[in-house]
Structures are given as C-alpha cells and as structure tokens.
Assembly symmetry: C2
Homo-oligomer: 220 residues x 2
Amino acid sequence: MNSGDPESDLLALLAHAELTGFLHTSRAASQAPTTDVQVALGRLAVSQFGHYERLASRLRDHGHDPAEQVAPLADVVRVFHERTEPHDWLEGLIKALVGDGIARDFAREVASRVNPELAELVAADSGSSENEQVVAAAVSAAIKEDPTQAGRLTLWARRVLGETVAQAQAVAVERDALADYIVGGRGSGWNLVELGHLMASLTQSHEERIRRLGLAREDD
Amino acid sequence: MNSGDPESDLLALLAHAELTGFLHTSRAASQAPTTDVQVALGRLAVSQFGHYERLASRLRDHGHDPAEQVAPLADVVRVFHERTEPHDWLEGLIKALVGDGIARDFAREVASRVNPELAELVAADSGSSENEQVVAAAVSAAIKEDPTQAGRLTLWARRVLGETVAQAQAVAVERDALADYIVGGRGSGWNLVELGHLMASLTQSHEERIRRLGLAREDD
C-alpha cells in the first residue's frame, strides 16, 4: 500500500487475502480426517492460489511488485490470524470456508460498485458447489456425532466474521482513499455509512452460508 | 491397494505421495518468512495437487476410487511424516523440496522402466527451476546468517531421504507384485537387488539436489 493508488491498494488487499486463504485452507486440508475432505479443501486452496496469481499479475501490469505492495498489510492480516487460531480441524475447516466466502463476497460487492473489469477477475473460478457440499457433509457428520458441537462452531464462525470486519474497519480508517474507492467515491463523509451497508450485506451472506453448513444462529 | 493390480497400486502410491506432498509443501509455505518464498512454495504445492488430480483421474479410469485405493497406504505415509516432523520452517522447506524431488525422481525412474504412458503423466508440469532457485536462495540466506545451520540441515535432508527409503522398502516387502512391477517384472528374486539399484540412483540425485540448495554432505 505504498502507492496511494487505491485500485492497486485494493488489488494488494485482495491478493493478500487469497494468498493467506490458500495457506489456511491447505492447513485445514492437512488436518481433515478423510481423503474426500482433504481433496475438496485442496481444490479450494488451489483455486485461491489461482486468484492470488491473477491479482498479482494485474499488480505487475500496474508496475507494482506484489510482495512489496502487500507488505504493509502483513500486520493487519497477522493480527486477524492470531485472533482466529483454530483449536481443531473443524474450526480450521470453518475458518477456511467462512474466510473464503467473505473474501469472495467482499470482492464481488466492491467490484460491482466500482470496477466491472475487476469483477470479472475475481468472479472467475470461484469455489464449486460440489466442494462446498463435501465440506458441509463433513461438518454435518461431526455435529451428528456430537450435537453440542453446533453451538461452539456457530460461535466460532461468528468470531471469524467479527475479526474480519474489525480488521477491514482498521484498514478503512487508516486508508481513506482506499475506503473512498471501495464505496464508490462519494466523498469521505459517506465512507463509514457505506462501509456499514457493505458489512451488513457481508454479514447477511455469512448467515446464509453457515446455515448451508448446518450451523444455526446462536439465538435461534 | 485392494486390487492386487500393480499398476493401480503404483498409481495409488504416487497419488498419495503427491497429495501429502501438497499438504506438507503448503504447510512449509505458511511458515516461510517472506512472500517470495511463500509464493514459490505455493506454486510447488499447486503443481503437486495437479499431479494428484491427474493420477486420481487415471485411477478412476481404471475403475478404482482413489480414496479407497489409497487407504491401505495411509499407515506407511503417516509413519513417514511422524518420523520427519519438522522443528522449524527451514526443516519444513527442505522436507518439502527433498520429498518432492525424491517422489519425482522415483516416478520418473519407475515410469521409464515400465510404462512410458505413466512417464508422460508424471513428467508433466514438474516444478520450475525458477521456484527451486527462490527456495535455494532462502536456504542460502539462512545459512549465511548462521553457518552452523548447514550441518543440521544436511543431516535433516538425509533423514528425510532415509525415512523415505525405509518406508519404500516396507511397501516393497509387503507388496511383492508391486515391487516386481516397479523393477520391470524380472521375477521376485531380482526385486531387492533391483530396488537397491533404484535406491542408489535416488540417493545420488538427492545428493545433487541438496548441493544445489547449498548444503554439503556431512563427510565433506
């Protein structure tokens, strides 16, 4: 985020999210108890790495070194991961899926507001529903075996969402030009309001996603 | 390895090696200190997963479920990984590279002896030398910073090789039809002799590989 060019800042943010998504999804794969789930998570991880490569390539087209551009974000992302360190493979699995879902929703929302070309870039090759089904089946099986898991895992999914929002807001406050770009350039007075709408939309998609995984809201 | 069909056994062995290679390489990536090394290891991991997908697809063509075919090998591979648990990211990195190198050499040796079609399958998309250079540079930098690392890492690389050979021999003793197939079907009396030649060849390639990483033999 050296340049002050908000499109490059956004590309760097998305690229870094995909790269760390790849690392965490593959770690969840290594802890999965069956080959089917390992392979489903492996495919998700490979797709995330492919997104990273495309975003990094776009950054190079803009004359930026992806590693340098991403470096100032490292602290924010490290804090996120420190606060969402999974305690077991199920938490790792849910973090991978929830984190990937939020990153993809975020990219889609932002791209549809400001940059159709970027929308095309982030929409390509998104996770297949077949893989999501394999993973959802693994979560369901774990809950069926021990129904007390459902509450714990729902809270965990909410914590991953909460930490994502907290870190996104930290970036937005610090990088006004980026926040302005993301919400469509209506002037900085609008930024926090528009970011609020964006977060509300991401939260709603998140609730739908965890329902598909067989998890319910804690107050249901 | 349910079938007793040695080609399917071999495909399952190679597929499982690529899948676990993917998992361990991506874990090394998650521990790497720079984005450049993370990305280089990420590319290696993605290439290993691609190999897995191609080998698994071939197994399905043969009428086998890759997950089922691989299951009887899980113990051997688990023992290997338990005995080569990295203590830090450099050991993880070397394990990823050395393991991938041995798996690729093994596949090439075997394929060239018995099955040109398989040779084509395993040769495709092998790790680029550019990635190997990025990783070698990271190892060199670590050794430059602390020269006492060189001996420890060389011994570590040798241990990874030794455990690979030990587990391969365990498979060969238990699966005579597979060993026979691998060494070219000259009859079981030849198997251990031919396997010895194969292991000697793999060891030599290994020594060349660790020299390229800037590591020397312990007795140099």
